[in-house]
Symmetry: C2
Subunit: 342 residues, 2 copies
């Protein structure tokens, strides 16, 4: 079985974007602010966007199931205030829930949070609870920079984040640490901001005692961990200089990397350097890089091909990366699969 732990509903029906446009117009003229009921998307529209895109590609590539969350770049937590983010998260999370209801064998939802710059992360708990308890979400996406590229929030090791972690521990759900659109002209969203955030979050964990406070907290660092595996020696050396334990003990019971690295050499490095137990299969498809690699004739984001071809993974390793690590890191996903007899 092959589980892709990193998929977003990037292909949602156009009505969702129109609803968001209205919501943004409402920031200037509150009379235009739409209600949740103003978003009308039929099941057939959902089916069309899923079957022609993610599900088609999953079938072509032999992927069984995707952990599916709202489009990361559209979270845009920097827009408006907490109420804005709250209403937006509600409609986006409901849509992913509906996808999971229509395709229970293929999609399991993960939640975006109604984060907002300068607002206490505790404010996100209500939506988190709703998504876990009512929608069966198996994870959350946590944005370490709700400002969208201005990095005005404290590091993830700051105690202000702890209420979210307490709830994650209570529910035994992991967080994928994933930023959204950059509104800082310095940072291209998918070419710089995403990768920078991955590296930044890892180093925030390294330079802290966060996992002493939360021994069972689990973070998934997407996009292959940003710059981290490529600079693994640097991080081992920095941990040593900062008098931290070896990374295996200090971080690798809690921090995991996905395989959204879009060429063979990158996956080879990831699987050579990072212990197999810490690597989870993912493609972030349909996502940042949608084209076909002229060097291979295959989609850049068809990451299964690289996993299959890498010399650093045995058959048993691959089944860990494809399935067993995900079932361990996402226990609620495992529970769903067990109920399905899988």
């Amino acid at each position: 079985m092959i589980i892709d732990v990193h998929g977003h509903y990037t292909t949602a029906p156009a009505a969702l974007g129109q609803w968001r446009d209205l919501q943004m117009a409402g920031l200037q003229d509150p009379r235009r602010t739409p209600g949740a009921a103003d978003l009308r998307i039929s099941d057939d529209e959902i089916r069309e966007t899923i079957e022609n895109n993610q599900l088609r590609l999953m079938r072509e590539r032999g992927l069984d199931l995707t952990v599916f969350s709202p489009r990361a770049s559209f979270m845009a937590h920097h827009i408006g205030d907490f109420e804005t983010s709250s209403a937006w998260a509600e409609v986006c999370n409901e849509l992913c829930f509906r996808v999971s209801e229509l395709y229970p064998a293929h999609f399991v939802p993960a939640a975006m949070l109604p984060q907002s710059p300068g607002v206490d992360p505790r404010s996100c708990i209500t939506e988190l609870v709703r998504c876990v308890e009512q929608y069966g979400n198996v994870a959350i996406n946590l944005n370490p920079d709700p400002s969208g590229g201005h990095w005005s929030a404290p590091p993830l090791s700051d105690r202000s984040w702890y209420p979210i972690y307490e709830k994650m521990v209570e529910y035994d759900i992991p967080a994928m640490v994933h930023v959204s659109t950059s509104c800082n002209a310095c940072f291209h969203t998918t070419g710089a901001h995403y990768l920078n955030a991955d590296t930044t979050a890892f180093m925030q964990c390294l330079d802290s005692a966060l996992f002493q406070d939360f021994p069972s907290l689990r973070f998934l660092i997407p996009h292959g961990g940003g710059a981290v595996p490529y600079h693994w020696g640097r991080f081992r050396g920095l941990a040593q200089a900062l008098n931290k334990p070896l990374l295996e003990a200090h971080l690798l019971n809690n921090v995991f990397f996905d395989t959204c690295v879009y060429h063979q050499a990158g996956i080879d490095l990831l699987s050579r350097v990072i212990p197999v137990k810490n690597i989870l299969f993912a493609s972030e498809m349909v996502g940042a890089v949608r084209g076909i690699d002229p060097q291979t004739g295959h989609y850049f984001d068809d990451t299964k091909r690289y996993i299959e071809a890498t010399p650093h993974l045995s058959h048993e390793d691959r089944s860990q990366v494809y399935e067993h690590n995900a079932r361990r890191v996402f226990p609620r996903l495992d529970a769903i699969l067990q109920r399905q007899g899988r």
Copy 2:
């Protein structure tokens, strides 16, 4: 011959730090502001710090020459205003010049610029000219984020940077794109901010036509290019999605990567993915990671060992990485070496 293109005077005599402390005190109480003449460092003090540190390690490792610039983390362009940065750059650049005068066979200077947040980059030209014409500097360090982690400057493709580029082209000198200390609590300086800046700068170049405007402009991206080589497939795919030419044509006549990657797997990836002509040997020693790797028994930053061991470089490739690429990218360094009969 082995040229290390990335060294900083991290071991400068304590008097330099004391001068800087006084300068910062002067921001509160201008009567305390020191003049350049208040910095007194003897040639013997310089010899002691160089011979016991960089030169000792260069001899142990078999490196012949280092392109040597002021300590990157101490540039701290966010402190004070242009006058502050200007006075600080002057004393730091003079010190590296003195090192190069004392050890002309081993150190060639590169300049820090008196950048300051919100100040026109044109203001740096006077110091740049002084360093090239009077001190024989062969390169500059260009900080894409003088704010120190708040990223308030425009991207490197913005026309406000062009006066610096015009002068670089006139003098035929490259810039190493190198940030300084982070004063944003989100970013650990050497574990996040440095690597993020490398990735960010590369993507700013990718998402622009900068090298159409300056076909002979050359940037060295340090720290092995941040996350870039590890995500080379992602960047190739993004270039394609942005309708840019292939990276070889779009960037690789102008953008170069150093080898400051502190483990074998990282150097293996770099040398597998990036064309040999774009890789320049460097160690950034004595720098961010000064310890000994318990897995190898050697210094993390002894990057020559990884270059020697990588299967992706032939003997001829190695001599390009060690010497010939540096002489091509730093023509004024080549001219100095030729005058020395090397």
